[in-house]
């Protein structure tokens, strides 16, 4: 059963991408295909999760080649959880894109959007399932190749520039990854993770440290860990915003996942734990201090993203079950919340045509629903109780302050400070974009003029989530009719419903924090213990 189930989460999107290339003329067919495939992927991810809950770690040898030689797919509690969360977010963002595309923005859905998006989904799922280093490399390449295409969709000079930066930096890290795989193979004679977890123990200490550091650099670049984060705030904001949302939610997280996987499985003695902690503190501070200085809302969010990668590295650097538990809960929380924030900022951009905090303003008055949509995830990101960010931060901070290492407690203090900085950065966005009256400075030609008071409009659809308050019409963009046509209203409703759904998902994480934490605790214990993982892969060796 699991033989069939385990490859599905990446095989289906890949097949869908191929089919999508054939169907590229028919937008509606593409939409149905994309949504159908990703819905099926979510279902498969749920299946994997249930199988893992039932039987522990499951492994499949593709093609029947025995374990150390063939391609192994493994799902343990961590990968099953990541699979489910990322496939859900992928589906939600695709739904959002479909919602925007109904109006017929040519920019919203270029022809290659669906195939590239599905390929990206396949890559992300394969990263979580890969049971050997080389397959992990291939998974990252599949994911990144799709992301280069997505980042440069709807080409303009800024995107070309960003795409080049992004592609070259990612490729450099891929080359380093490949070299690390080569060095690992030369040293141990295997690339199978389970096999490696046994064999790295016999390596000389110096070599083990070098390997651990090489993988840290590789995944540090891909995951934007300071000081290797410089590419991220320069490239992510240039993409179409919903694509930035996918990248921010998933791409850096897959790198952090790979970092957690390699460090716990291959180098459990934690010789680079100190390095990880110092880098975590640097990442948090640099990211959030950067976020405070930015004027563009997408850049603010991108810097905040960098800063919050620090929390994940912090959890890993503590080298304890408690720390890993915190990191896993934080991963789940951050995937959902960061995607939501980017989606909300996309709606803001749609309404006002602006992304600069200097020119935004008065949105709370003109669209209370949107304000609520922004406020909840922003506060959650800052760790305000009782939202999901608080739960995740609490788990991490408990692990940090409970650590017996002074450095661990010191970095926990930095994490508290970073939480505060996040709150300041988010409040700044809130105050400038939503709260203050709209006084445009440096007005561009056709003034976006969301009226101070929301006029009860005939075109607007009453929002169920905003207590029946009517929404003002779309911010009058240059040349746009004030009254919305029917498909436009549907599109707008779908876009907002998806975003509201993402906010609700974030809230659900807080509500179901108990089960999530206990699942993460077991996942972390499995990561540290490693025997279940080895056994599951080993069983496949002699079927």
């Amino acid at each position: 059963m699991s033989d069939v189930l385990l490859p599905l989460p990446y095989a289906m999107p890949l097949a869908g991408a191929a089919l999508g290339l054939l169907l590229w003329r028919w937008q509606n067919a593409l939409r149905l295909l994309g949504l159908g495939i990703l819905a099926a992927t979510v279902a498969a991810a749920i299946g994997v999760l249930m199988a893992v809950a039932d039987r522990g770690v499951i492994a499949v040898q593709i093609g029947g080649w025995p374990a150390p030689l063939g391609i192994t797919l493994v799902a343990d509690r961590l990968s099953a959880l990541m699979l489910l969360v990322s496939s859900t977010v992928l589906l939600a963002i695709l739904l959002y894109a479909v919602g925007q595309g109904v109006v017929g923005h040519s920019e919203a859905e270029p022809n290659f959007f669906y195939p590239a998006y599905l390929t990206l989904a396949a890559g992300v799922c394969l990263v979580f399932l890969a049971g050997d280093l080389f397959n992990l490399f291939v998974a990252f390449e599949v994911m990144l190749a799709a992301s280069y295409v997505l980042l440069t969709l709807g080409p303009n000079p800024a995107r070309m520039h960003a795409g080049m930066t992004y592609a070259v930096v990612s490729l450099t890290s891929s080359i380093l990854f490949l070299t690390s795989v080569a060095v690992t193979y030369a040293a141990t004679g295997t690339v199978n993770l389970a096999d490696l977890s046994v064999r790295t123990a016999n390596l000389p200490e110096g070599l083990r440290t070098v390997l651990a550091l090489m993988f840290l650099v590789v995944f540090g670049i891909k995951g934007a860990v300071a000081p290797l984060h410089l590419w991220l705030p320069d490239s992510y904001p240039a993409a179409i915003t919903k694509i930035t949302a996918v990248f921010a939610a998933l791409l850096t997280k897959t790198a952090v996942y790979a970092l957690i996987r390699t460090q716990t499985l291959l180098f459990p003695d934690g010789r680079i734990g100190t390095v990880l902690l110092v880098l975590a503190a640097a990442t948090m501070l640099i990211g959030l201090l950067g976020a405070l200085t930015q004027q563009d809302i997408h850049r603010v969010l991108s810097f905040a993203l960098v800063g919050h990668i620090g929390y994940l590295v912090f959890g890993l650097g503590l080298l304890s079950v408690a720390g890993l538990t915190g990191a896993i809960v934080y991963l789940v929380h951050h995937i959902v919340v960061q995607a939501t924030l980017f989606l909300v900022s996309d709606i803001m951009q749609d309404e006002t045509g602006e992304t600069s905090l200097e020119r935004l303003g008065g949105l709370a008055g003109s669209s209370a629903f949107l304000a609520a949509l922004f406020f909840v995830p922003a506060m959650s990101l800052s760790g305000v109780p009782p939202l999901s960010g608080f739960v995740a931060k609490l788990a991490l901070l408990e692990a940090g302050f409970g650590s017996d290492r002074t450095l661990g407690r010191a970095v926990a203090a930095v994490a508290v400070l970073t939480g505060l900085l996040t709150l300041i950065a988010m409040s700044r966005v809130w105050t400038l974009a939503f709260w203050r009256p709209h006084t445009p400075s440096g007005e561009p030609g056709p003034a976006p003029e969301p009226g101070e008071r929301p006029d009860p409009n005939p075109g607007g659809r009453p929002d169920p989530d905003a207590g029946g308050r009517p929404d003002p019409p779309l911010g009058p963009e240059p040349g746009e009719r004030p009254g919305l046509s029917r498909p436009q209203r549907y599109s707008r409703g779908l876009v907002r419903a998806v975003t509201a759904g993402m906010v609700a998902l974030g809230l659900a994480i807080a509500v179901f924090a108990g089960p999530l934490t206990s699942w993460s605790l077991q996942a972390a214990a499995d990561l540290v213990d490693r025997t279940a993982y080895r056994q599951a892969v080993g069983e496949g060796r002699n079927p």
Binding site: P157, M164, L171, V183, D234
Partner: protein, 127 residues
């Protein structure tokens, strides 16, 4: 393990990284190609010394070549090939848009640098 191969890998990496740090896009792409070659070669070297072809039943005697790194090297070659094609397309597109092959200055960097300079002048003017 051949020393020559190791030196070649080292040279490829050195030249590759040097080219990667240039401003001209075509040089960056060339740098990436060289880095790709270097890492592919590293994978081959990781397989140990060459021996008989790894075909069961057809080997005479002696040790076989390890086929696994070769399979990985092939995959890596395919990936770098595809990505190089994409990079070239991107560099061409960039040239069409920007009219030149150079990586432009980062706008944000320039803004901050300009602010810093202005700040310096202000201080000098005040002092």
């Amino acid at each position: 393990m051949s020393l020559v191969l190791l030196i070649v890998i080292g040279v490829l990496f050195a030249v590759g990284f040097h080219l990667l740090l240039q401003r001209s896009l075509i040089r960056i792409v060339a740098g990436f190609v060289l880095l790709g070659h270097g890492s592919t070669l590293a994978l081959l070297v990781a397989g140990g010394p060459a021996g008989d072809p790894p075909l069961l039943g057809r080997v005479r005697r002696g040790p076989m070549t390890d086929p696994l790194p070769q399979a990985m090297a092939l995959t890596a070659i395919v990936i770098t090939f595809g990505v190089t094609a994409f990079l070239l397309a991107l560099a061409y597109r960039s040239r069409v848009f920007l009219g030149e092959d150079e990586v432009p200055d980062d706008v944000e960097d320039r803004r901050i640098a300009a602010e810093a300079r202005r700040g310096d002048y202000d201080e000098e003017g005040g002092g």
